[in-house]
Amino acid sequence: MSGSLNLAGLLLAAAPGLPLALLASALWRGPRARLMRLLPFAPLPALLAALLAPGGALVLAPDPLRLTLALDLPGAMLLGGAALLWSLAGLYAASYMARDARRTGFAAWWLATMAGSLALFLVADLASFYLAFSLASLAAYGLVAHERTPAAGRAATLYMVLALLGEAFLLLAFVMLATGEAAGNPMIAEAVARLPTSPWRGAILTLLILGFALKMGLVPLHVWMPLAHPVAPMPASAALSGIIVKAGVIGLIRFLPFEAGLETAGTVLVALGLFTAFYAVAVGVTQHHPKVVLAYSTVSQMGVIAAVLGAGLALGDTRTGTLAAYYALHHLLVKGALFLGVGVAAGRALPWQRAIMALLALSLAGLPFTSGMLAKYAVKDLFGDGFALLLVTLSATGSTLLMLHFLRRLARAPDAKPAGTALLAPWLAVAASSLVALWVLFPVASGAGYGALIAPSALWKAAWPMLLGAALYLPLRRLGGRLPRIPEGDAVVLGEALVPLARQASAGAERLDELIRRWPVAGALLVLVILLLGAALQLSAGIGPLRAG
């Protein structure tokens, strides 16, 4: 890896650099006032880097820090998609939030989250990855909490608790990965190459999967998502559901040892992913708010990606990273467009607007010729011909069901404000880019030609699960209101039942502390500690009971 400055390297550095620089400029009054209008421009270096600099690398700091940037194919795909969505969602936000009293604060959180999320796709060393991951994950708190309603407060608290929990899992995993490395801060690839022979392989993998699954929202760690994504302002929801969840995806792509292949871990991940895919559909169809339905759809789709990664890990297939990133890019752009669309096409929208929303929604289920079909086609190989393939195929049925439900709830939602070009244009641009990007990248990512896509068998393979889904939707619609209402975030209710317990625990701690701080108790404890420490020291030294001598 060359440490010399090069154009590609500079672009890489500018990708997180420009958002951070803009954030720093908010210290001065002038730029602060214009911060909101600068949002669309902040991710442009990242977009350029994704287009021009794949394969580029830059060492930001030499040994012993070894902070290193490098852009490979999966990273470049996600970086490009994320940059595009950040930019267009920023444009959308500039207009959508123009009258928001706290827009400057919003822009600051936005830029911090952006910097972290963009950096995440192009860092190559362990420390930088953790730094970028923390920045993206913690700054997103500001986006979730922005509205300051009770619902936002609850969602933000839950988000923070789980994000910190995820950080803790990852930190421990990283520490264990780095232990035994000669360098204080190893390259991710070096550390992962040694993972299969680590004495703590099981523990590290468990912690990694827990940490990243929290971010991706795999069941049962998904509970924060249906709460957090909908409460944010529309463009922030798009960024959260489109981009931030991909932090988990890139994490698994980077940290799972696909080269070595681990069958057990892979199988567990497949099972976890597929269960998530169907569970989220089942809960999602009972939801009423269109944004909540979309959030459940994200959970379900992340389940599919986890299954893809798991299958690749079990096979030991080195293409897995690229394929998973390709699928994730599809979801990134489509889900971003869907959330932006909720802001313009809710309620009685114009027919063409409804049509585009329908196309986008069904794209998630793999509608032929949309990005969804391409993505699903590309990843199928990894599943072989067995039961897992059937389940993955059927997940499209579930998606169809969920998306039809979404379109219906969208039509019944309160009317969106009449949208001007400032909102419509970014929305349409994201929607269009989902098609363009996936078609352009298909040969690169899958290694197959376009011809395979238009073969009738391929089209039928994409279509039958959807038809099945559509057929299933009819009875479901009949049931309509008689479905049980599952609260948003489903299992979180069980978790929140623990809150009083935690309160009791802390009240207990307070009482215990009060007791300990009573003078006679503290005094007696002091004497006790003397005796215990004295005895412990004698035992540590191998001296038995106290003897003269």
Partner: protein
């Protein structure tokens, strides 16, 4: 003196200590404590540490005793620092403390024999200091920094005591005893004792260089005489903001530091004395320290300012 005496003394000390801790009355405990201080002085004599015995009698018994008497006389009922402990707490505490005592006894018996000692090391270079009393040599030459900081501790405690006064009285006079006019007996004592006290103090100070005795013991006696005069109304307590008093307080440390730093030029370093002048320099330091100690001890017992400063 023989072993039975030591045994008797041990029993007396322990019994008095136990009595102080268990007796109901606060005032009785204070009187017990004064007696305890005198017993301790005897223990120190029996341990052949006459310097310490004098210090213990003067400060441990005398100054502390006067202070505690003054406090217990004025102290009203105050909120306890904890609820009176129950029987269980007392038992647990008792067992634990007995454990510490027993462990300590075992450790005392386990101390090496022959005991390590710096006595020879302390005597060897004592000629360079010109002193005859090794304890003074330790205090003012070998471990002079400790002694310097000890004076700072005194000053700090005095500032701490002063800081507890009210803002408006800052710099004013302490009211050592508030209650009524002094008794005739006290006035008589205050007239008769000081001349003797001053003579004894001067003697102790002078011999301190070579024999047991020294600045602390002498200063304490002087401070006691001054307090006696204040209590009897014969000498007005000084204003805590008075220039002279402040100068007296810092005289000791400053002289100490000045001579210490001068050591950089005329000897081998900070706090080193040139061999030829060591004894006079040490006596000069002791004299300056004594001034500060008398002022600090007396005013610490007198308490914070409680009368308006006279302008």
């Amino acid at each position: 003196m023989s072993e039975p005496f030591a045994l008797l003394l041990t029993l007396l000390v322990l019994l008095t200590a136990g009595w102080i801790v268990t007796v109901r009355e606060r005032r009785a405990a204070v009187f017990g404590f004064i007696a305890y201080g005198l017993l301790l002085a005897l223990v120190w004599i029996r341990l052949a540490a006459v310097d310490v015995a004098l210090t213990e009698a003067a400060i441990g018994g005398g100054a502390t005793g006067v202070l505690l008497l003054r406090v217990s006389a004025r102290l009203g009922s105050i909120r306890g620092m904890s609820a009176p402990p129950g029987l269980a707490t007392r038992w647990i505490a008792g067992v634990l403390c007995a454990g510490v005592s027993l462990a300590l006894m075992a450790l005392v018996l386990a101390l090496p024999d022959p005991a390590p000692s710096l006595a020879a090391a302390a005597m060897e270079p004592i000629g360079r200091t010109g002193l005859g009393n090794p304890v003074t040599a330790v205090l003012l030459a070998y471990r002079a920094l400790d002694t310097f900081l000890e004076i700072i501790v005194l000053l700090l405690a005095l500032i701490g005591v002063w800081s507890l006064g009210a803002d408006r009285f800052w710099g004013g006079e302490p009211a050592a005893w508030r209650t009524g006019p002094p008794s005739p007996a006290l006035v008589f004592l205050a007239r008769v004792l000081p001349p003797f006290g001053i003579v004894i103090a001067g003697y102790l100070f002078w011999i301190g260089a070579d024999e047991p005795g020294g600045k602390f013991q002498a200063s304490t006696i002087l401070a006691a005489m001054w307090l006696l005069a204040m209590m009897a109304g014969l000498a007005p307590p000084p204003r805590t903001g008075a220039r002279g008093l402040r100068a007296a307080l810092v005289a000791g440390p400053l002289v100490f530091l000045a001579i210490g730093f001068a050591g950089l030029w005329w000897a081998d370093g900070f706090l080193a004395y040139p061999d030829a002048f060591a004894k006079p320099l040490i006596i000069l330091i002791e004299a300056a320290l004594a001034v500060s100690i008398v002022a600090a001890l007396a005013l610490m017992v007198a308490g914070p300012a409680e009368r308006l400063p006279r302008r």
